[in-house]
Amino acid sequence: MSAEALFLSGDAALLGLAVAGGVAARKPFAGTLVYGGALAICAAMLVLALVELLGRTNGETLVLPLGLPWIGARFRVDALSAFFLVVINLGGAAASLYGLGAARHEHSPGRVLPFFPAFLAGMNLVLVASDAYTFLLSWEFMSIASWALVMAHHREGDNARAGYVYLVMASFGTFMLLLSFALLASPAGGYAFDAMRAAPPAPAVAGLAFILALIGAGSKAGIVPLHVWLPLAHPAAPSHVSALMSGVMTKVAVYGFVRIVFDLAGPQGWWWSVPVLMVGAGTALLGVLYALMQHDLKRLLAYHTVENIGIIFIGFGLALAFKWFGMPSAAALAMTAALLHTFNHSLFKSLLFFGAGAVLSATGERDMEHLGGLIHNMPRTAFAFLVGCAAISALPPFNGFVSEWLTFQAILLSPELSSWVLKILAPAVGALLALSAALAAACFAKAFGITFLGRARTDSAKHAHETNRFALAAMFVPAALCLAAGVVPGLFIDALSPAVSDAVSGRMPAQAGIAWLSIAPIAESRSSYNGLLVFLFIAISASLAASVIHRFASNALRRAPAWDCGFPDSSPATQYTAESFAQPIRRVFGGLAFVTREHIDMPEPGETRPARFELTLGDRIWDLIYAPLANSVERAAVELNRLQFLTIRQYLSVVFAALITLLVMLASWP
């Protein structure tokens, strides 16, 4: 049985699970059945995908008599899809593990259980599809399934609106992808990927297809300015689904981009990298700035996904440029950076969403201003969340640092590019990347510090309790992988090199042979990094310092009230809040992205009412692009509404006019 057939049977099993979940949703064992089954299937497919990635590099096309009658449904697993299958099924397995613990608390299981395995199946199908029709069908299936999950708690808060915006944006994205595939398919209708590869379109057509793919896949991934649905929809779903959407589904979108742009269309012009780099850098910076301003923990994480997508796209932009200018090893470096960051982000973003979910189920709060001090009652969750924060802030020795380091190394190769635009763009992108990385650290110092440290701001935070074993396991597995990928990055780089060479037909030098498990992207004299040694050095010097101090100096410790410059206050309300932590950064960078209005209401001396400070943050992109668009659609709808109240005679004349117009158009068609 070929690997493709095995993957398809896995997907079929997931779909069967979806049906079973729908039928048995009200039964007490339904949660265990669905999540346990999904965990087993994802784990099996993860192993299978790893075997595919490390072993055979080229799959064979499997044609099933489904879908369009003259092409059938084509499936193929090559190294690129195998890599993404690893990412998706790892995230899927972790989310299922979390789901096992969370299922008991789900108040409307009938709205979650059928769609969760269906969503996983949809994502898996996108990755094995090998013709445009199957790809788009699976893509839509994935979108609809995730939309259903976003709407699971549709009566809460703004969730219904989030679902609506998501549905509109998802349809828009699919439509763009449809047009892109239509351009790539030869006039004879070669919808199979093989046919597209065999007959590449003219540069102008390919360029248009590339732009459409950037918009279509980018809107799913969350590039600015197409990101607006993402921070609404991702947090609205149950937490393990948020983790899947943010950590995993965005990676399917990334896969779609790589598949179309690198594999099917191939860079056909140096300018292809320019929009990708600009969009990537803008997305990274704006994403982290938006994230910094949030005080809803899950929404902060969702916005931060936008930043990471930006970093991944910066890598793609560089890879496109290097590939076009015939520098395969540099292209491989940039591609490795992007794909490694894709993998890393799926790890730590899932982990952080599980942590946010654990906090949500322990306290009922997503708002950081109502949390605080959770490290005391939820020490394990806090520890795992801290690892995730350190990894996502690109701190050594964790994995986030490695992929950003590789991206910087790729940027340092860009002076060799023979294009003036790129020469000027590359350092600017590098500076913006560095800025967003530093802001990310501030963002996660805030996320962890306000949520888990300090004093509890409400009773629900004070009486929180540690989360269940499944959720802890779902957090600690990615946390361990974050450390592993940061300490021995060479192994991970080597593992994904078949996928890289699929995309850019170049390879980085093998890292396994380098002494002491270092990584050296080009040559050791130029740059090298050894996560293992850095980790060991930090561990050794910290314990050395601690043991010397404890051996030779005082060991005594006394607990006392906080000093606070001699003015300790009893109320936890006097602590720094999420908003006040980000205030200096908002003052400095705010004008860039937000419309901020501060309103201070200071009572006259003698008045007894409290002073009030109000802050409204507007999203400039929403105001500039989406609000006018929504308004004009609404106006048009109101105008068109008149058509519903015509007399029969008027209807007849409208129909007649339409018929005449169509006939005239048909007659004048060349």
Partner: protein, 317 residues
């Protein structure tokens, strides 16, 4: 191998041994300029020992993180400092992390210190953390663009290679390097919390940043954090010295005598830098907090311009 290891260990102990001395020197210079006698040069050592001997008072609401952070901050700073060539390049472990990793290590130290500031849940701690986050968010990208400049000039991000290249004669005078130097000095002032960005001598003042963050620390924890701060100053001075005034630096396979001479010269350079810092700090006023972003932002722009010049001029040579 053994000799290399010995020199690596020597370097690690050297930076830690001279760190309090450098701080003492800066303080003494400032005191003399104010016509005070000031404390003796070795006062920082005494302070550290006194702090280490006292019992540590930990606030009631502090978590395990609060007690863990000082050692972590110290370790990250020490590892970073050990990777900067002080008197010789090509030390045993210098290839294990490049300049970008050194910056990231310092970023890790800042991240955890900011968390410690938030841990007890006091307003001062939060204030320090929040401002440190802002300064860090500006200083770190400035450092990265400076790294771009250095890496493009020397063809490597390995600090050892950069320093060795700077010692060699084929550097010449470059505009980019001048811009990078100014930017690096500004970043060093900001990162070490020196005047005009922050005043290391203040307490009980709303403008403080670093001191506010570590306000709740006492005893041995405070000693470790203070030592880490002193170490950071040495690190930045060593960084500037090894890149921009590298003369006397012993390159990879120099003789033992050369290396010892390098060490001597290094101490002289360190002393000069300490005096210069003292003079600079005495002759300038502290800035308002919201002026600091302009100051560090200027460094970012300078560093960026320098890097841009190099990116663009790559084809011209």
């Amino acid at each position: 191998m053994i000799v290399d290891l010995a020199f690596q260990l020597l370097q690690m102990t050297l930076v830690i041994a001279v760190a309090p001395l450098l701080t003492g020197l800066v303080r003494a210079t400032k005191a003399r300029l104010m016509r005070r006698r000031g404390p003796p040069l070795i006062q920082p050592y005494r302070d550290l020992i006194r702090l280490a001997r006292k019992e540590a008072v930990v606030a009631d609401g502090a978590s395990w993180l609060f007690r863990f952070v000082p050692y972590l901050v110290f370790a990250a700073t020490w590892v970073a400092a050990a990777l900067v060539p002080t008197f010789a390049t090509g030390l045993l472990f210098s290839w294990s992390a490049d300049l970008i990793a050194i910056i990231a290590l310092l970023g890790a130290a800042r991240f955890f210190l900011a968390l410690a500031g938030l841990d007890v849940g006091t307003s001062f701690g939060g204030l320090g953390s929040s401002r440190e986050a802002l300064f860090g968010a500006l200083a770190e990208p400035a450092m990265i663009v400076i790294v771009f400049t250095l890496a493009l000039v020397a063809g490597s991000t390995q600090l050892s290679t950069v320093a060795a290249y700077m010692v060699s004669s084929n550097v010449g005078l470059r505009v980019s390097l001048g811009m990078a130097l100014v930017a690096l000095i500004v970043v060093a002032l900001a990162e070490n919390g020196r005047i005009p960005v922050d005043n290391p001598a203040t307490h009980l003042e709303l403008t403080m940043v670093h001191e506010a963050m570590i306000l709740e620390y006492s005893g041995r924890h405070l000693a470790v954090i203070e030592l880490a701060a002193m170490l950071k100053l040495v690190l930045y001075v060593s960084l500037i010295v090894c890149v921009f005034v590298p003369w006397g630096l012993a390159i990879a396979d120099a003789s033992v005598a050369d290396r010892l001479l390098g060490a001597l010269l290094y101490l002289v350079k360190l002393a000069l830098a300490g005096v210069a810092l003292g003079v600079f700090e005495s002759s300038i006023a502290k800035m308002r907090v919201f002026r600091v972003p302009d100051f560090v932002g200027a460094a970012l722009m300078l560093g960026f311009l320098g890097a841009l010049l190099l990116f663009v001029s790559r084809t011209l040579k």
